[in-house]
C-alpha cells in the first residue's frame, strides 16, 4: 500500500470533504459542545480515537464475517451494535485503568454512541470498499476534520459571548450563520486534490 494514497485520503476526508461543512454530519454535537474551548478539545480527542478504532473493527467484521455470510443488508444494525459495544467497553476499561483520563473524557464517550459521524465512517468505508489501512486513514482524516471544525467554532463562539447580537438570533441561529460562513471558506479547499 503506498503511503501517498493514504495521505491523500486523510487530507481529502479532513479538508475537502470535511464532515461538518460539506457532508453535514455530527451537527448536534458540533453545535452542542462548541461553546467552550476546553470541552471542544476533549471531545475532538475522544472522537478521533473512537472513529479510527471503530473503523478498524467494523472493517474486520464486514470483510470477514458479513461478506462471506452474505448478510451485508444487515450492516446498519451490525455497525451500530459494534460501535455501542465498543464505546461501552472503552468506558468500562478506562474507568478501571485510568480514572483521571476517564474523569476528563468519559462524559464525551457516553455522548458518542448515537452520533451520526461515528456510524457514517464504517458505512462509507464499506460502500467504497476501502482496504484496511484506507479505512483507518479515512477514519483518522474524518476525526481530524471534525476536530478542526470544532476548534474553529469554539474559538469564534467564545468571542461571540461579548458581541451584541439581535435578540431573536442569540444562541443557535447565529451559530448556524457562522457555520455557513466557515463552510463558505471550506469550499475553497475543493479541488485541492482530485482522487
Amino acid at each position: 500500500m503506498d503511503f501517498e494514497r493514504l495521505f491523500q485520503l486523510v487530507v481529502a476526508a479532513s479538508l475537502i470533504n470535511n464532515f461538518v461543512f460539506t457532508r453535514f454530519l455530527g451537527l448536534c454535537i458540533f453545535f452542542g459542545v462548541s461553546k467552550k474551548m476546553e470541552t471542544a478539545v476533549g471531545m475532538s480527542i475522544t472522537f478521533t480515537a473512537v472513529m479510527v478504532i471503530s473503523a478498524a473493527l467494523s472493517w474486520v467484521v464486514f470483510e470477514y464475517v458479513m461478506l462471506p455470510l452474505d448478510i451485508t443488508f444487515l450492516k446498519i444494525i451490525v455497525f451500530i451494535g459494534i460501535i455501542a459495544a465498543f464505546v461501552q467497553s472503552a468506558d468500562t476499561i478506562m474507568k478501571k485503568v485510568s480514572p483521571s483520563l476517564y474523569y476528563k473524557l468519559g462524559i464525551y464517550l457516553a455522548l458518542i454512541t448515537t452520533n451520526c459521524i461515528i456510524l457514517a465512517v464504517p458505512l462509507i468505508n464499506s460502500g467504497e470498499r476501502y482496504s484496511f489501512l484506507e479505512s483507518m486513514s479515512f477514519g483518522l482524516g474524518s476525526g481530524l476534520g471534525f476536530a478542526l471544525a470544532l476548534v474553529i467554532m469554539a474559538s469564534i463562539r467564545e468571542k461571540l459571548e461579548l458581541a451584541d447580537i439581535p435578540a431573536p438570533f442569540r444562541g443557535l441561529p447565529i451559530s448556524f450563520i457562522i457555520a455557513g460562513l466557515i463552510a463558505l471558506a471550506f469550499t475553497g479547499f475543493s479541488g485541492l486534490i482530485t482522487l
Binding site: I76, A167, P173, T187
Partner: protein, 214 residues
C-alpha cells in the same frame, strides 16, 4: 413526562409545533441541511422519518412491559435500526434516483437523537395510541421543517420547485451550496424566534407561532 393526560390531537400538535424537532429542540440537525437542497429530497426524508418515528413508538410501546430497564438502550437501537433498514431497502428498490443522493442520510436516521429520545421519554411509559400519536406528531413536525427549509432553498437557489422551473433569471446559487443550508436554517430559526417573541408580547401565548409562519 410520565403518563400523559393530553388528548391525542394535543399530542400531535405538540410534536408539530411547540416541540418541533428542528426549530425548537434543535436536535437531529444533520439532515436539515444535508438533504434540503431540493424539495423532493426533503419530502422523501420527511416521509421516512414519519414512518420510522411512528413505528418505533408503536413497537416500543407494545413491548414496554417486557423490556428490562437495564438493557433498554440496545433494545431501542435494534428496533430503530430494524425499521431504518426497511425504509433503506424500500427506497433503494423503488426510488433509485433520490436514494442515490440521500441514501447515506436515510441510513443515518438510526443515529437520530429525536427518535431515540421519544422512545425513551414517551413511548416506553405510555399506552399504544398516545405513543403512536406522539410519534406521528414528532414525525410531521420534522417533515414540516424539511419542507419549509427545502422550499426556500430550492426556490432561491434554483428558481424551481420539485424540479420544475418557477422563476426565470439568475438564481442565488449560494442557497444550494453547503453554506446556504446553514444560512437558511439560521435565518429561519431566527425568524421563528422573532415571531414567538412578537406573539408572546401580544397575547402571552406563543403556541401558534410556527403555524402562521409555516
Amino acid at each position: 413526562m410520565a403518563h400523559t393526560h393530553k388528548s391525542n390531537w394535543e399530542l400531535i400538535k405538540n410534536g408539530m409545533f411547540s416541540e418541533n424537532t428542528i426549530f425548537r429542540m434543535a436536535i437531529s440537525l444533520c439532515p436539515s441541511i444535508a438533504v434540503t437542497n431540493s424539495l423532493k429530497n426533503g419530502f422523501y426524508m420527511g416521509v421516512s422519518v414519519i414512518f420510522v418515528q411512528t413505528m418505533v413508538n408503536l413497537t416500543v410501546s407494545l413491548i414496554r412491559n417486557f423490556i428490562n430497564p437495564k438493557i433498554r438502550i440496545p433494545i431501542f437501537m435494534m428496533v430503530i435500526a430494524g425499521y431504518v433498514s426497511i425504509i433503506d431497502m424500500s427506497m433503494a428498490a423503488w426510488a433509485r434516483p433520490v436514494y442515490k443522493q440521500i441514501g447515506l442520510y436515510i441510513q443515518l436516521i438510526v443515529a437520530f437523537a429525536s427518535i431515540f429520545a421519544r422512545a425513551e421519554v414517551f413511548a416506553v411509559k405510555n399506552r399504544i395510541v398516545p405513543s403512536v400519536c406522539d410519534g406521528l406528531g414528532m414525525g410531521i413536525g420534522f417533515f414540516l421543517a424539511m419542507i419549509v427549509i427545502s422550499f426556500f432553498r430550492e426556490l432561491l437557489g434554483k428558481g424551481a420547485l420539485w424540479g420544475f422551473p418557477i422563476v426565470s433569471g439568475n438564481p442565488l446559487l449560494i442557497m444550494i451550496l453547503p453554506a446556504g443550508g446553514f444560512f437558511a436554517v439560521g435565518l429561519l430559526m431566527g425568524f421563528f424566534n422573532w415571531m414567538d417573541a412578537k406573539l408572546a408580547s401580544r397575547k402571552g401565548e406563543s403556541a401558534s407561532a410556527e403555524k402562521q409562519a409555516a
